[in-house]
């Protein structure tokens, strides 16, 4: 990240808020709608203060009616608005899944290209805060199964700041998953926001020996693991996917073709996770370049337990990541 003279220090939360404010200022068609985005200030305080600034028409508190207000977002997008719909957390998005899969994702196709759904749906995702089985899902990779939508997973403060605007400019529905454990992380950002290319993965650390492929809330853990491994002489490259649909195969493959070894780190449940897809693609496209089987570090296949020690054991942690990397390197 380049430091400029007019740099500011922001948390991930503040970066999201700045991005929303910015969008509201730039485009009259943009409005924010969701549960407790207004008077409460947002469940995770992301939208705090925006109601005062933009008023209740553009910062719309909704009743607890996930299917209706997500569907209303789709309808409003069809009619020329640029809604940002906030589903408080991914756990509640299941109630709106019919609208997402059967309407947002299909309307363009079913109408033969007549309709477009320029809608952004934001939600908090992930575990790690002892919220137990119904409040700890990591379903962003699961959503990436659905053709017709795009899935963004900002893993840095910069991406939290930058991804919203291109998502709003996109003519198709975009889901943004904000990892709950990242809200308090902070970073120095240049004052002038530059819109990042949301279609590309990013190499967050260059290395020669093995590629860790990850995103979102697991990114900081992977960077720590890479630091740790560096001290044992293992030179790790860390690829941040940034977008889970469409996947940026090129960046992933060029990394793997270089290092010949890949470890995928993903907070989703292992079976049927996005890490399986990435593994399959690497095998399909770079089989003969691999010096070791592609490895995966995922969440244990359990509804998330409340107890801290069990939750920690269920989630990808630095120790499990380093172990998997060592195995990939030694076993290769």
């Amino acid at each position: 990240m380049t430091m400029t003279s007019s740099a500011v220090r922001l948390t991930y939360r503040e970066a999201m808020r700045a991005a929303i404010r910015d969008a509201l200022q730039r485009d009259d068609r943009v409005f924010l709608m969701g549960e407790d985005v207004g008077r409460y200030g947002g469940c995770f305080a992301v939208s705090k203060g925006l109601l005062d600034e933009f008023g209740p028409e553009r910062i719309r508190d909704t009743p607890l009616s996930e299917s209706a207000f997500v569907g209303a977002g789709i309808g409003a997008a069809l009619a020329g608005m640029r809604p940002i719909v906030e589903i408080m957390t991914v756990n509640f998005s299941l109630l709106a899944l019919d609208q997402i899969m059967n309407n947002a994702a299909t309307l363009q196709h079913m109408s033969g290209g007549q309709l477009h759904v320029p809608l952004v749906i934001r939600m908090t995702t992930g575990a790690g805060r002892q919220l137990a089985a119904q409040h700890s899902h990591s379903l962003e990779g699961w959503y990436a199964h659905i053709p017709g939508i795009k899935v963004l997973v900002p893993g840095t403060v910069e991406d939290a700041r930058g991804m919203l605007w291109p998502a709003l400019e996109d003519p198709d529905p975009v889901l943004i998953f904000e990892h709950g454990a990242l809200y308090n992380t902070d970073a120095q950002l240049p004052e002038a926001a530059s819109a990042p290319d949301i279609s590309c993965a990013a190499v967050r650390r260059f290395g020669a020996d093995v590629s860790i492929i990850t995103y979102g809330g697991s990114l900081p853990k992977c960077l720590s693991a890479a630091d740790e491994l560096a001290s044992s002489g293992i030179d790790v490259e860390v690829v941040d996917l940034r977008t889970l649909r469409p996947l940026d195969d090129d960046t992933v493959l060029s990394s793997v073709v270089k290092t010949h070894r890949a470890v995928i780190v993903d907070e989703g449940w292992r079976t049927g996770s996005i890490s399986a897809e990435i593994s399959a693609r690497i095998t399909e496209q770079a089989f003969y370049d691999l010096d070791a089987p592609v490895a995966r570090v995922c969440s244990a296949e359990v509804p998330m337990p409340y107890a801290k020690h069990l939750e920690e054991a269920a989630l990808p942690q630095v120790a499990r990541i380093t172990a998997a990397v060592r195995q990939a390197v030694d076993g290769g």
Binding site: A68, G71, G75, L78, D98, M110, G113, Q114, G148
Partner: protein, 332 residues
């Protein structure tokens, strides 16, 4: 297409009965041909006929203006025709031709036409209602005085989404006309087996919304009721609920053995055939002559012949284009 019968402006036909009759006839004859074409395997998939219910679409559409929006169900040939969607483009759609309104991607259940603000064609029961709320929200936010008509069957009243949308539209005072087509059955389930309160306007009124019933076999009555509701909505009266009591003369879809209802019941309703009744009334009041009706039949037959010929002459979308319309072609 010019018509030989009096137009609504003519003093002899102050209620616009002729136009309503004409629309109903177009629907009836169109669908009768659809049945043949289904047997001939020109049309495939699920096809749901509107025969018997024509007065509802004809009446409601007569009350709407071009700037209004329409959201319909999978039983929507009638709504599309009455709204002005070209019969040829609907037929071509059902033939799966690229000249179809949805380029053959949608079929019978997914007729779309943005030019007529006809937003489908939704095959998930209740799934279109949130879209209607969103279209109305966009109109509200953009200061347009349009009305959005959402059609759905009485079976949809059991869906949670119906409830969420009724509340949301009423809470936000949105210009939605909820049109409940109560044909007494949801597939094989009679209303009394799906709703504890079968007086649907009473249910609707619990959302603080003006709600009433009209005879859905009487196109003029429907048109009057809808006009009253639309006028009130446009004047800022918020959402309204209109129950149209009707009946489908045919099976639910092409696969229904109709085990759940008595043929006697069907015959009894057929005595109230909306076309026969209106024709009789127009004749009795000397608005039309027998000759007029014969001429009208011929005109409609011509229109439908032309539609079928158009569909037959249609072409197939190249298989290489399969992936189109999943994501928009013009990306920012």
């Amino acid at each position: 297409m010019s018509t030989a019968v009096p137009t609504p402006e003519q003093p002899l036909d102050p209620m616009g009965g002729c136009r309503l009759y004409r629309e109903m006839l177009r629907i009836r004859r169109f669908e009768e041909r659809c049945v043949e074409l289904y047997s001939a395997e020109k049309i495939r998939g699920f096809m749901h006929l509107y025969i018997g219910e024509e007065a509802v679409a004809a009446g409601v559409m007569a009350a709407l203006a071009p700037e209004d929006n329409v959201v319909a169900t999978y039983r929507e040939h009638g709504h599309a025709l009455a709204r002005g969607v070209d019969a040829g483009s609907i037929m071509a759609e059902m033939f799966g031709r690229v000249e179809g309104c949805s380029r053959g991607r949608g079929g019978s259940m997914h007729v779309f036409d943005v030019d007529h603000r006809f937003y489908g064609g939704n095959a998930i029961v209740g799934g279109g209602i949130p879209l209607a709320v969103g279209l109305a929200l966009a109109d509200h936010l953009q200061g347009r005085h349009a009305v959005t008509a959402a059609f759905f069957g009485e079976g949809a009243v059991a869906e949670g989404e119906f409830h969420e949308c009724m509340n949301l539209a009423a809470l936000w005072d949105l210009p939605v006309l909820f049109v409940c087509e109560n044909n007494l059955y949801a597939m094989g389930t009679a209303l009394a087996r799906s709703q504890v309160e079968t007086d649907l306007p009473l249910r609707a009124a619990s959302y603080e919304m003006p709600a009433w019933s009209v005879d859905g076999m009487d196109a003029i009555g429907v048109a009057e009721g809808a006009a009253r509701a639309v006028e009130s909505i446009r004047a800022g009266g918020g959402p309204h609920f209109l129950e149209c009591r009707t009946y489908r003369f045919r099976a639910h879809s092409m696969y229904d053995p109709e085990l759940y209802r008595d043929q006697v019941e069907v015959e009894r309703w057929k005595e109230r055939d909306p076309l026969l009744c209106l024709a009789e009334r127009l004749r009795t009041n000397s608005v039309v002559s027998d000759d007029d009706l014969v001429r009208l039949e011929a005109e409609v037959a011509d229109e439908i012949d032309a539609a079928i010929a158009f569909a037959e002459a249609g072409t197939w979308e190249p298989v290489e284009d399969l992936d189109r319309f999943v994501y928009s072609e013009s990306q920012p």
